[in-house]
């Protein structure tokens, strides 16, 4: 404790411990045709959560692979009905131009019908995002006390759709409104034991973080105007600069928005946070991570494929059975290599970045913890199966 009532949050992850775990569970995932991935996720989370320390005390993840697997089964059935029906209806509507557009109008219609089938899963993705966070919180404990989030994914989905539409209509300028309101919606429904969280601050407070994205948007807007004005060369240059500026700005925005929103959260009893993650550091960690993964991954692929390459000499004369065996071996090795890359990326890209975000946080007013009481457990119905089926699980 540096100052009275303050707890530093730290991350004690160790690549040498996480890598064998990630690789081992990844290989089991390949061997079991993906079934093991739920148990893999549970084990990796148990490991990573435990490395997060608030003061001296660790977080604990109590979710199980079994419940995630069962949740996935449920989600697949729901999704199967939903997607099949949506596909069929879109097909029935778009039948004339889905296969082969005849003119410009039909090409536009085809574009719309493809966009629609994406839009059809958008509500589900928002729903799943909320459910996934809810599940993670419901399975997280600190000092033996459960976190929880209220069952309100439907409201989140509706708000998400509205704010997303506003963001698109405003050409991206209202993005901070969406970020703030959606985060506030989740925070205000988050509990630690019997203590509730609140989101302070204002959505306009995010604009200083959003500044560089606005510059990017403005440059692209300008390039359109210049293009109409009749100088395509300058227009293209402006568009390129604008796009790059905007993308870097987006990273800065994500990092600073996390800091702002985290710093403005408060828990009953006066517990609060201070967070100042640095965008430059995150970008550096990412570049460094990509470099390490590329290097080690390159070595791994040489080790994995070199023996196969030498055996391949003279394969054309081999019998069909031998050729088939080699094809199977090749696919297996390829999957193994993918697993190695996945594990490397987790250890050398995701973990350091997570570590930086975690370590940027300080808890203030920690005395409030002593008054927090336990809450009953949440059965967590689909255990983020929906998010898994939609393939939107992040690194952890």
């Amino acid at each position: 404790m540096d100052r009275a009532g303050e707890l530093q949050v730290s991350y004690r992850g160790d690549p040498a411990k996480l890598f064998p775990l990630a690789l081992g569970t990844g290989v089991l995932g390949v061997v079991t045709l993906g079934i093991y991935r739920f148990w893999a996720k549970a084990r990796i989370r148990r490991h990573v959560w435990e490395k997060v320390r608030v003061g001296d005390d660790a977080m604990e993840f109590t979710g199980t692979g079994l419940e995630m697997f069962l949740g996935f089964l449920m989600a697949v059935v729901v999704l199967a009905v939903y997607l099949a029906v949506v596909q069929l209806i879109l097909f029935a509507v778009g039948i004339r131009f889905v296969l082969d557009p005849q003119n410009e109008m039909e090409e536009i219609a085809q574009g719309i019908s493809i966009a629609l089938s994406f839009l059809a899963v958008l509500p589900l993705m928002l729903f799943a995002a909320y459910r996934a966070r809810r599940y993670k919180l419901a399975r997280t404990r600190f000092r033996g006390i459960r976190f929880a989030m209220e069952n309100a994914a439907g409201g989140y989905m509706l708000r998400g759709l509205i704010y997303l539409a506003l963001t698109v209509v405003s050409l991206g300028l209202l993005w901070p409104l969406m970020t703030y309101r959606l985060e506030a919606y989740m925070t205000e429904r988050t509990w630690y034991g019997g203590a509730r969280f609140r989101q302070g601050g204002r959505w306009t407070g995010l604009y200083s973080a959003y500044f560089h994205v606005v510059v990017g948007i403005a440059l692209i807007g300008l390039s359109v105007l210049v293009g109409i004005g009749g100088s395509p060369g300058l227009s293209g240059l402006l568009a390129t600069v604008g796009a790059i500026w905007g993308m870097v700005g987006l990273v800065i925005y994500r990092v600073r928005a996390f800091g702002y929103l985290m710093s403005q959260k408060e828990m009953d009893g006066g517990l609060g946070f201070r967070a100042a993650p640095r965008a430059g550091r995150v970008v550096w960690l990412y570049i460094k991570g990509v470099f390490i993964v590329g290097l080690l991954g390159g070595v791994a692929s040489a080790i994995i494929f070199a023996p196969l390459g030498s055996m391949m000499v003279g394969i054309e004369e081999a019998s069909e059975l031998v050729q088939l065996e080699f094809a199977v071996l090749g696919v297996a090795l390829y999957l193994l290599l993918l697993t190695v890359f996945g594990a490397l990326a987790l250890v050398f890209i995701s973990q350091p970045i997570l570590g930086h975000f975690v370590e940027s946080v300080t808890v203030t007013g920690a005395e409030a913890l002593d008054a927090v009481r336990q809450r009953v457990s949440d059965r967590g119905a689909d255990a983020e199966g929906l998010a898994d089926a939609l393939d939107m699980g992040g690194a952890f």
Partner: protein, 357 residues
């Protein structure tokens, strides 16, 4: 030998207060404060030092009490590791296996019901709602897709005038006065594949390979009658809708949510046209009746079935879902009436074979 008492951190699972307690080992377990944790119910939680929980019958997602005891590495932790035999045990609640098996069976049954009952019903319903004009346009799009998949840069349709005249004569013989709901649109594609297929909207296509293989006009007419059977039963358009629906599920499994799969698959499905066995039998029955009524006779179709079966290897659609096409030849003969009048003259038959020339 029992180690001395040690300080440890205790979270009672009721409040978030951090309590420092003195833990005393005794013969049956760990004593601290008012608690006694028996050795055989201690379970290890992943963490630094030795993090302990107490196994309980009920629990929540885990069969553990929420309270945690954190021992630093040392003599006491080592003693607990040696004495508590169940530290690493994974307690499963009674009935977990049954529950898991039940859920898997339920999910499998639900998916099967969706794929084989719900989807076919709803796609048939939607297919029946499709206006004829749209179906014809859709069929044309499918034909263009098929041409593209057969590797054609531009149209494959054969248009030798004498051949077309022979083709039209054959078409009239099979369709005129038969009261068909579809206006059959017959064409030949210049491709060596031995195949014929029906597309939505009454389009029936013969590939040149079939003309090369067939020995008489009656054989071709027999295959045509079979395809017209599919057309009249609306099989192609139903198949397209079912494909669209199951592509939705396939896309889910493959993680492709943009719907690109549907577009990619539709043409392929039509070309390989895997209709159900019932649909094939119905098309056969339709063909036998049509061939008898029009006086073409079923002998040609029977001969064709026999010869194709003898070839092995790449089997065209009209035989693909039937394991024993020998029986079909017999069925065709049994249903058969002799031919009253040839479909084409020898000259016309030669013209048809040269339609792509």
């Amino acid at each position: 030998m029992r180690p001395a008492a040690e300080e440890a951190v205790f979270f009672d699972g009721i409040s978030a207060r951090r309590q420092v307690v003195e833990v005393t080992p005794d013969g049956r377990g760990l004593r601290f404060g008012r608690e006694t944790w028996p050795l055989d119910r201690l379970r290890r939680i992943e963490g630094e030092g030795l993090v302990l929980a107490l196994a309980v019958a009920e629990g929540d997602e885990l069969p553990h009490d929420p309270a945690r005891l954190v021992l630093a590495e040392g003599a006491l932790a080592a003693w607990v590791r040696a004495e508590a035999t169940g530290l690493a045990r994974r307690d499963l609640r009674r009935g977990t296996g049954v529950k898991v098996a039940g859920r898997i069976a339920l999910a499998g049954a639900a998916l099967a019901a969706i794929l084989f009952v719900f989807l076919p019903r709803i796609s048939d319903l939607l297919a029946d709602q499709l206006p004829m004009e749209q179906e014809v346009a859709f069929g044309q799009a499918v034909l263009r897709q098929v041409e593209g998949m057969l590797g054609a840069e531009d149209s494959l349709v054969c248009d030798n005038p004498a051949g077309l005249a022979a083709l039209e004569k054959m078409e009239r013989r099979l369709t005129e006065g038969q009261g068909l709901t579809y206006d059959i649109d017959l064409s030949v594609f210049d491709h060596e594949m031995l195949n014929a297929f029906a597309a939505p909207g009454g389009h029936v296509v013969i590939l040149r390979g079939l003309l090369d293989e067939a020995e008489t006009a009656e054989e071709v007419a027999g295959v045509l009658a079979h395809e017209i059977g599919h057309v009249e039963a609306r099989d192609p358009v139903r198949l397209a809708f079912r494909t669209a629906g199951s592509a939705g599920i396939l896309a889910l499994v493959l993680g492709d949510v943009t719907g690109g799969t549907v577009i990619g698959l539709a043409g392929d499905y039509i070309l390989r046209a895997s209709y159900t066995r019932e649909a094939e039998e119905a098309a056969d029955a339709f063909a036998f009746a049509l061939l008898a009524r029009t006086g073409v006779g079923t002998e040609g179709l029977a001969a064709f079935f026999e010869r194709i079966e003898g070839m092995g290897g790449d089997v065209p659609e009209i035989l693909s879902t039937h394991p024993a096409s020998g029986n079909r030849a017999e069925a065709a003969r049994a249903a058969g009436t002799g031919a009253t009048e040839p479909v084409l003259t020898e000259a016309e038959w030669q013209a048809l074979r040269g339609i792509c020339g």
